[in-house]
Symmetry: C2
Subunit: 359 residues, 2 copies
């Protein structure tokens, strides 16, 4: 491993300067940096600072507006559609989540579907915004099509993640944040770098056959929905990815399915796009809109404790609750620093030179 | 196959008479019958009339109240907790869904968490109630623990299904309805009856090893979450099952996790149950609380058509959207009748004799 360790503060200052040099306001650059680096802290390296160069490229080709007029297009007491005005998803999504939280304060829950946005970092960040408000938070986004539905040779869905954060009392909260595929694309990229095969069930080739080729996406292959194959329930993962696409894309008026805009700036935009930009869906539910928060937290602590102390299977030492591993990683990386692979360090160094920013 | 074919009307009249002889009002018996038989029509045989004997047994031991006072315990403009008063889940859930729909009419969305209920049939029925209102419908329920979390030797979650129904224009709607496990328990029961092994990835033995033994649940084994194993993403299926349990059980004040009440009346209730009965979670979102319904339906039609006409993989002829297979089954069974296996016919015949009802 040729990793270089950086402190959180080092990467924070660099990313902040990059967003500022794109023309973001101080406030937006700060928000975008916090969202982006939450991925590195939590160990979701594919969605963190490794993507900074990609955001800059989208800005260079005019697909990201650094000074967006993020605004509500339509609303009811518990809902809104937000137009992200081509802003950074890293800024648009937390703003939209704040609207959901504000609505939940008023009428119990708030649900915001977003169009005209871009990649929003890790879904978990936005969902976790609800925790300090004693609310359950939810976040989803669609993404460019890399995933083949069950029985499909065509890629029609993104890895379309779902995050749900649930507050607790004394126990650490429940924070689920997962792609609706068997494996995230980042895992295939890691296997490619190491020249290793991928496990069966992660991807199919162009004809729809099982494959262990980590580079299969470049050869007409596709990621598989959670479940891998029909017999193991891939139609369920396909349904989940569809729900995310419909809630994020169709409900907001963003593009959807195979028309979702690609993240790499060099990939041409799909033809005849049916909507505007990428879509997100954000939700907040006030706990005490259902039952007294103290009662809920007592029961939630009992739930969390029961699962965390469950008897492990042979060969394992611990049963984890969603978010436990990421929380532990966050503590460790804040203390010991964040390792970056050589390719990412090279990308960031080149970016620093181009923008005349210290790295 | 020693199946006997019954018309929908024959089974409907029988189930209606059974619910009436349990003491249900005419209105409740009619509703319960419609919900129960929607499973048989849609080909989800494990949740239909095959369970009628089980509901009667729960009534016999006093766990189902045929004349419940279903009532709102707490509410806000967009939320409610409903106490099912030990009523049939087949009656409690559609009543709670109606409350969600009524709230969505007022403030855009409605979300109802239910305690003190029982098994509610197929989740899809309740979610689909929203379709005729131009709303997206959602339904979930927790259930008695048959599923081991990732790395757990203990069974802590039910098969905890999720249903989401989305209206469309000219195209048939999107209706997802799936257990958050790799395979439903009903599929293991079918394999047991046929004395056949189950595919790898459906279940684990008492030590947590992979197994193809269809009877493994009787030997301390467990169903596996969607994803089967960690490497294939079982922690995601485990997270989904957890979300359903928290929304249905913890948010309402029902029992949850390993304490969810068992369906078979002969299985003793768990000790120290933390809540009341089984829990459900029902949601409705008005389409035009986000964007004009006609615009949404146009885009939804485009979405559905694109997926339904996708290029299939080798060996397949068609890519399906969630709900397509069940809809086709519903049409066929309404016309040609509903096949029942010999064991179910025997159970129903004995029930008919006991209750002095014609079958």
């Amino acid at each position: 491993m040729n990793d270089t360790i950086y402190t959180y503060q080092q990467l924070y200052q660099f990313a902040l300067n990059v967003f500022k040099s794109m023309g973001c306001s101080n406030e937006d650059a700060t928000l975008a940096t916090s969202v982006l680096l939450s991925a590195d802290l939590r160990g979701i390296d594919s969605h963190g600072i490794a993507r900074l160069v990609g955001y800059v490229r989208l800005w260079e080709v005019g697909r990201i507006n650094p000074t967006p007029n993020i605004h509500i297009v339509h609303e009811t007491p518990s809902t809104a559609v937000v137009d992200g005005d081509k802003g950074l998803g890293l800024v648009v999504a937390p703003r939209a989540m704040q609207i959901a939280i504000d609505k939940a304060k008023q009428v119990g829950t708030g649900w915001v579907s977003v169009k005209n946005s871009n990649h929003f970092g890790i879904a978990g960040y936005h969902a976790m915004m609800a925790l300090s408000q004693d609310m359950i938070g939810m976040a989803m986004t669609n993404a460019s099509a890399l995933v083949a539905p069950t029985y499909s040779a065509e890629k029609l869905l993104g890895t379309n993640p779902i995050a749900v954060a649930v507050p607790a009392g004394k126990e650490a909260p429940f924070v689920a944040d997962f792609a609706t595929t068997t494996a995230a694309n980042g895992k295939l990229e890691i296997a490619q770098r190491k020249n290793e095969p991928i496990p069966k069930g992660w991807a199919q080739d162009a004809a729809g056959h099982a494959t262990t080729d980590a580079a299969i996406l470049k050869k007409g292959g596709a990621l598989l929905p959670l479940g891998s194959e029909k017999e193991q329930g891939s139609h369920k993962g396909y349904a989940l990815g569809s729900i995310v696409d419909i809630f994020s894309g169709v409900l907001s008026g963003a593009s959807f399915g195979p028309w979702a805009p690609p993240f790499p700036a060099y990939v041409p935009m799909p033809e005849n796009m049916p909507g505007e930009g990428l879509g997100h869906f954000l939700g907040a539910m006030r706990i005490d809109a259902f039952r007294p928060a103290a009662d809920f937290k007592n029961n939630m602590d009992q739930w969390l404790n029961r699962f965390r102390t469950a008897q492990p299977i042979e060969g394992q030492t611990q049963v984890y609750v969603a978010g436990d591993i990421e929380r532990s990683m966050e503590g460790a990386r804040m203390k010991n620093g964040i390792p970056l692979v050589a390719e990412v360090v090279k990308d960031l160094s080149e970016l620093a030179t181009k923008l005349s920013i210290a790295f």
